[in-house]
Symmetry: C2
Subunit: 131 residues, 2 copies
Amino acid sequence: MKTDQTAQDYLRQVLAGEPDDDCPVRRTLEILNGKWRTHIIYELCKKPFCRFGELKRALPRITSTMLTSTLRDLERLGIVRREQYNEIPPHVEYSLTEKGRALLPVFFEIHRWAQRYLGPEAAGPGPESGD
Amino acid sequence: MKTDQTAQDYLRQVLAGEPDDDCPVRRTLEILNGKWRTHIIYELCKKPFCRFGELKRALPRITSTMLTSTLRDLERLGIVRREQYNEIPPHVEYSLTEKGRALLPVFFEIHRWAQRYLGPEAAGPGPESGD
DNA sequence: CGGTATCCGAGTCGATACTG
DNA sequence: CAGTATCGACTCGGATACCG
């Protein structure tokens, strides 16, 4: 499998002496870490842009506080773009940057691992029809 | 690129209505989440097995408490295997299970993203093109 | 050698109330 | 509509001390 080959290659890099203090994997995990971050990125994947209220409706359990805070974090990290329209009524549009969209392959790889080792059914009623 | 294609495929799954409450990606992220987890998995990748003291030496800043606790968590999650030898002197050997080793492709994909968007050397804002 | 027990500070998450 | 401010519960990680 190609992926395994590349993973082996990566292992070799690790073995070559990559320090763990400035580990890019850990840093990325910390970026993704946070109860709502992936959920919000998910939602923003579905459309070219999304308004605050739309996100709030899509994520019924999130509070305004958390939505704002997470959105700000993601914006600061360069993953989400915020565009404000000061018309009447005012509104804001959130969208994913290229950096944010590039997270999709990562999510996909995680998803594959989860399917295999966490179990497809435990992972929810995904559209695994006949597959 | 093949990976992009599959990621697109995955996006379609998400769009198909995958709920976010039982999201496998989030669950996996929570498994990986923890200051020392990836570091320990890293170390265990380097050798077929590793003793407690070896791990402690490889991760100088970790305390016994955290090492034990993280190892136990990882064991409970089926990622790490613990084998105890009650000889004199007694010792313990830790190793990665297949489930644990299968995390490598995930790490690799995260690593690729980090290289590109976190920058190989610095935490720069990545190659943002007019997207 | 390979841990366990306990305490504590810092950070995360959520509820509530209020605003331009 | 799209937030901000504040407070408290809970969890995580680290320090310290001790054990089979």
